[in-house]
Subunit: 129 residues, 2 copies
Amino acid sequence: MAGLKYSRQREAILQFLMTRKDHPTADVVYANIREEFPNISLGTVYRNLTLLSDRGQLLRLHLGDGVDHFDADTSPHYHFVCERCHAVLDLEMPDIDSIDKLAGAHFAGKIKGHCTHFYGLCPSCVKAE
Amino acid sequence: MAGLKYSRQREAILQFLMTRKDHPTADVVYANIREEFPNISLGTVYRNLTLLSDRGQLLRLHLGDGVDHFDADTSPHYHFVCERCHAVLDLEMPDIDSIDKLAGAHFAGKIKGHCTHFYGLCPSCVKAE
DNA sequence: TTCCTTGCAAATCGTTTGCATAATG
DNA sequence: CATTATGCAAACGATTTGCAAGGAA
């Protein structure tokens, strides 16, 4: 069984992520949590981020930049990465699960899902062009 | 300017990747190239993989497993990752670039493209279930 | 008191880089 | 000869882990 105990640090990490929409990396979480817990260690931050994402309370995003991003919004949605400023934004759009069927029609195994993110220029970078 | 010089090692790496359809990682390339070049270093392998992918002769794939995979097939196609045996397979299917338009319709910035891979069970693992 | 969690530091892992030497054009 | 490429080893950045001490049930 799970055998999970409460910890103020874990709670703070989750709360912090819920206030952010920019999908912070572990060290951004670390830097911010340190204001409340000056002695917290990066290891603890990682341990909790891993634990929370394993339990489905967080999403751990792999966006191709070599760093993991975390998102407390676990509802189905997509992500956008700006090629210029590297911002990560939410993309609310109808689900595209039909691509799984399409893929399945061309594949002998079983498609369970897909992993997609979009890239291009974010709204502010478009203006700055 | 490019100023690119021929190297037997680079050529061998590219040739090797062209014989493989399983999208090897850098150390798999290294292990195999070592049969022909026992003294080649992992650094050289990485340098050439990076160089070749920067020039568009290779694809460097980020599939969420923390390791980069390389593909000498640069034609447009998708990839499938088996959740069970972690095989990476090609997925030939009609392009789904329409999802970019869909995303664009729900986003204020400019969508230039998307990054997608599928996951589930590969044909052999489906049988083994 | 039991077991989970923490802080700290050291360890891993994949990948990159500096440097002196070798190979290419 | 001017440059690029190589091998080696050290450096890196992100993430994980071992361990002794602290906190929750």
